[in-house]
Amino acid sequence: MKLPPVDYEAPETVSEAVELLAEHQDEASVLAGGQSLIPLLALRLAHPAVLIDINGIAELSGVSKTDGWVAIGAMTREYVAEESETIADDVPLLAAALPLIGHEAIRSRGTVGGSLAHADPAAELPAVARALDAEFVVRGPSGERVIPAAEWFEGFLTTSRRPDELLTEVRFPAVGPGTGTSFQEVARRHGDFAIVGLAASLTLSDGAIGDARLAFAGVSDVPVRARDAEDLLVGEAPSPQLFDQAAQRATDDIDPPADVHGSSEYRRKAAAALVRRGLRAAADNAGERQ
């Protein structure tokens, strides 16, 4: 299971990386953490002509908070994000999801940007990004674009990043008062990809739900926002019956994939269970954040 022949570049700046992408376009793969890309190459499922290794671009790492947004450099290692107090305080949903990504050794190398650019619909971070309406900053030859999460995920392992663009940063809105979050997943084993996962966020004020976010992992070829269920929740007081209805509504329209780990019907049922559990946990957390 050895990698196929491939050329290798190690740019030291974002500009250099963008130049290389502009030159090679679809023939290039960006190598960030490598925890998803290198297995693909080892299995010879991908045969890029060139790897553009961005691990040496220092400006791509870092976590900072400005104007109510937490900016995470694309090359920020998952373990660094896990240890970040800023993320723990200001993006608790992300903080909850990070420890579920694979195992410690994976998070030693894997990056926040890499996971989101790889866009595996069963992965944790895409669901979080979708739930929180994160923003994706890409730089190409003609400059920078900011892409909202709703437009970032296009299909299975496919994003709206153009072949000559590099994802440089992902921004998450800082959590507000009265907001509780929960990340739940059903996985066959500790550390496995989610069979289904749910990123949930509820904002309560005066005992009623002011804002609700539900985003699934593993129910489609992209992370899925359960907008109908969110609408159902807004304005209501949290209750098990309400959460039941939301679970029903959230899973009515999804048509999850089937594979060796579960049928479509199984994923639908498990997703409904996660909605009930996730909303309950988020409502409990919201109380703590008043």
């Binding site: 925890q35 290198i38 691990n55 190398r109």
Partner: protein
């Protein structure tokens, strides 16, 4: 091919690996450090785990060229010449392993984890090692080795030489006294391997 320089087990090394060559293959083939094993080559089993710049990583998911300038520690570099580190000794004492193929990766992952979490409990250790597959042992003996190492590290004299087992009364191999009690269980009638707390929570939380 590019020339790379890195430090492996404290020694400077150079090489000219192809870009596509993994760090695992570079260690095994170019540096003849065959202690690091290949169990799956797609990052799912942990047999290839080494420590790079202080963090446990899967060496099959890194290119050798990406380790240029780094400090790498493999199983061969864990203990002073010919000796055993605290964890290795504890695992020997605990009969942690059988065929030994998962061992180097398991040991490196455990070493990295313990150095950051010296007070970890059993559940935390299980989760930390849940990415290292062992097919022989059912894991209990491995967990026992890690727990024993943690206990010894807590009790050890920081001035003691790193390779020495800090507890002179630690179980040894042959008993010099033919009349010494047999078996390791203090109570022959008690089931061996019982969790110390019968009400202990299940091993996996969801």
């Amino acid at each position: 091919m590019a020339d790379i320089t890195l430090r492996v087990n404290g020694a400077a090394c150079t090489g000219s690996p192809e870009a596509r060559k993994t760090l695992a293959d570079f260690l095994r083939d170019d540096l003849s450090l065959t202690g690091t094993h290949l169990g799956c080559e797609h990052g799912a089993c942990g047999a290839c785990t080494v420590i790079v710049d202080g963090r446990a990583v899967r060496s099959c998911l890194m290119l050798a060229v990406q380790a240029a300038g780094s400090e790498v520690t493999t199983i061969e570099g864990l203990a002073p010449d010919g000796g055993l580190g605290t964890l290795q000794q504890a695992m020997w004492d605990s009969h942690s392993f059988q065929c030994g193929f998962c061992t180097p990766g398991m040991v490196m992952q455990a070493v990295a984890f313990l150095s950051d979490h010296p007070d970890a409990d059993e559940q935390q250790i299980r989760e930390a090692l849940s990415g290292n597959i062992c097919r022989c042992t059912g894991y209990q003996s491995i967990i026992d080795g890690v727990l024993l190492a943690a206990e010894r590290s807590v009790n050890s004299d920081p001035a003691a030489p790193p390779g020495a087992s800090p507890d002179p009364a630690a179980p040894r191999g042959a008993s010099p006294d033919p009349a010494a009690p047999r078996g390791a269980s203090p109570d022959p009638a008690a089931p061996r391997g019982a969790s110390p707390d019968p009400a202990a929570p299940p091993n996996r939380e969801r």
